[in-house]
């Protein structure tokens, strides 16, 4: 009997890691890794931080060195675009015409930045930040005296704002909601981050609609707001969320719901096809629902789930979803998701730039957002996974250590 063959479509953090875990777990069959970008799998989180500031290079971003792929016998199809999945024949067709048959297929196609369908969106200098190429373009648009307008006050936007300030650029963040991080964080945290960025010279336009980008000679020169003002700029970064690349899966009839629906083995509605990372709509057993997560820990956890299922070993223990963000000297660590929370408890003082916001459902911790507060993050993560009640009085009392609170 010939050895099973795995094709991985998508060579980002999830796809690249799946290939590595398969080999770590002793998978001996052929592995094909298909990626649209011309680059080997690399880490995206540093793109808006260390890389933008010139503190990281292509080598340090790479998940594995070039030589690893040959040593691990992973066949690469970089610059390869999958155009069709034939589930009956168990084969993937690439734009080049090549057909790759599979015993197991892993979809790791990720998500793409949502762009604004407004006038001027196609002007040069209107940028997104998702790939190394995007980051390179953005970096070229920054520097002393340059003006960057950021549309969207989410994590990508704020991280880029911090990096752009470090590079000496003037930065304005334009946000449709009445606060930054409106979709992903509580008001206390929004307020803190807005104030901190303000102290570092970032200006904000909140509650502001963007009507159009204006330009001269095909290059962006301003952002026209709904109130009639036009803010001059040399470049625009659009950071208003991402859309899962689930079209391939939809076209071949896999269950999709704003992402490819998978189970705890990362298996789709077709037992021979898995979906992992940003594109997957996955179960969250701790919260009793399905959700799409965009994070490196999620990509790694699901890469392990799929690789484990393929080699027939026990899957990893389900993890508490977690996220992190670095801005200036702030380390933000988030554990859990605030689903069903009925109140918020702030531990510590935001004025000291070291505090944590706990999201509680009764006396259960659902999520914690910790700013320069690793014990609160680590203990909070533990409390979330245990699903045991916590003493609210102790949690609120900073003279009691998190070790004792979590004991």
């Amino acid at each position: 009997m010939s050895k099973p063959r795995v094709v991985i479509v998508g060579a980002g953090h999830a796809g690249g890691s799946a290939a590595a875990f398969l080999r770590q777990y002793g998978f001996e069959g052929p592995i094909y890794l298909v990626g649209e970008e011309p680059l080997l799998p690399y880490q995206r989180p540093p793109l808006s931080k260390a890389w933008l500031k010139g503190e990281a290079d292509a080598d340090s971003l790479a998940l594995k060195p070039d030589s690893w792929y040959a040593e691990a016998d992973v066949a690469l199809r970089l610059g390869g675009v999958a155009v069709e999945i034939n589930r009956g024949a168990r084969a993937v067709t690439l734009a080049s015409g090549e057909s790759l048959s599979y015993d197991f297929l892993i979809l790791a196609t990720g998500a793409r930045p949502r762009m604004l369908p407004i006038e001027g969106a196609d002007l040069a200098g209107v940028l997104a930040l998702r790939t190394a190429a995007d980051a390179e373009t953005l970096k070229g648009a920054l520097g002393p005296g340059r003006r960057l307008a950021i549309i969207g006050g989410g994590y990508v936007g704020l991280e880029a704002a911090a990096s752009a300030r470090a590079l000496g650029a003037e930065v304005v963040v334009i946000e449709r909601e009445t606060r930054v991080l409106a979709r992903v964080a509580c008001p206390e945290l929004s307020q803190f981050f807005q104030r901190y960025h303000g102290e570092h010279g970032v200006t904000f336009e909140l509650n502001a609609g963007v009507e159009a980008f204006t330009g001269t000679d095909g290059k962006v020169a301003g952002v026209k707001l709904a109130d009639g003002r036009t803010l001059p700029c040399d470049a625009v970064l659009v950071g208003v969320g991402a859309h899962p690349n689930d079209e391939l899966a939809q076209d071949c009839g896999l269950d999709c719901a704003g992402g490819v629906v998978v189970d705890l083995e990362a298996r789709t509605s077709d037992p021979y096809i898995f979906a992992i990372g940003d594109v997957a709509h996955r179960p969250l057993p701790l919260y009793d629902r399905q959700f799409r997560l965009e994070s490196v820990p999620n990509a790694l956890e699901q890469a392990k789930q799929a690789a484990s299922a393929i080699v027939g070993r026990a899957g990893p223990t389900p993890e508490v979803p977690w996220f992190w963000s670095d801005q200036y000297d702030l380390k933000l660590q988030i554990a859990g998701l605030p689903f069903d929370a009925d109140r918020i408890l702030v531990r510590g003082d935001p004025a000291t730039a070291s505090f944590a916001v706990f999201h509680l459902k009764g006396d259960l911790v659902q999520a914690v957002e910790a700013v320069n507060a690793p014990p609160e993050f680590m203990a909070g993560k533990m409390l979330i996974s245990r699903r045991t009640p916590v003493s609210i009085d102790k949690l609120a009392d900073t003279t009691i250590s998190m070790k004792e609170v979590a004991a």
């Binding site: 080999r23 770590q24 998940l63 060195p65 490196v296 993890e319 680590m378 203990a379």
Partner: protein, 106 residues
Amino acid sequence: MAKITYVEHDGTEHVLDVKPGLTVMEGAVKNNVPGIDADCGGACACATCHVYVDEAWRDKTGTASAMEESMLDFAENVEPNSRLSCQIKVTDALDGLVVRMPESQH
């Protein structure tokens, strides 16, 4: 290059040449050594690159920062020689370093 020996929990050894400037964690991840997950890629944000530094090397690898200490405080199976391998920069002085891995990183 510094020769570093990574010992898995079950005793399996991986002897690697790691370029100075990288961290002990990066040396493991780039060579696909099992047992060092390094979810956050070296941001000192997750404690999934926990290792035990061989006694003979504890002085040379330096001491943990306050941030690293507080992450380790909540990791599992922590010992006095526990470190986060993403916080140990490889230098020529670490040629011969031996680190062991805990049973699990989570």
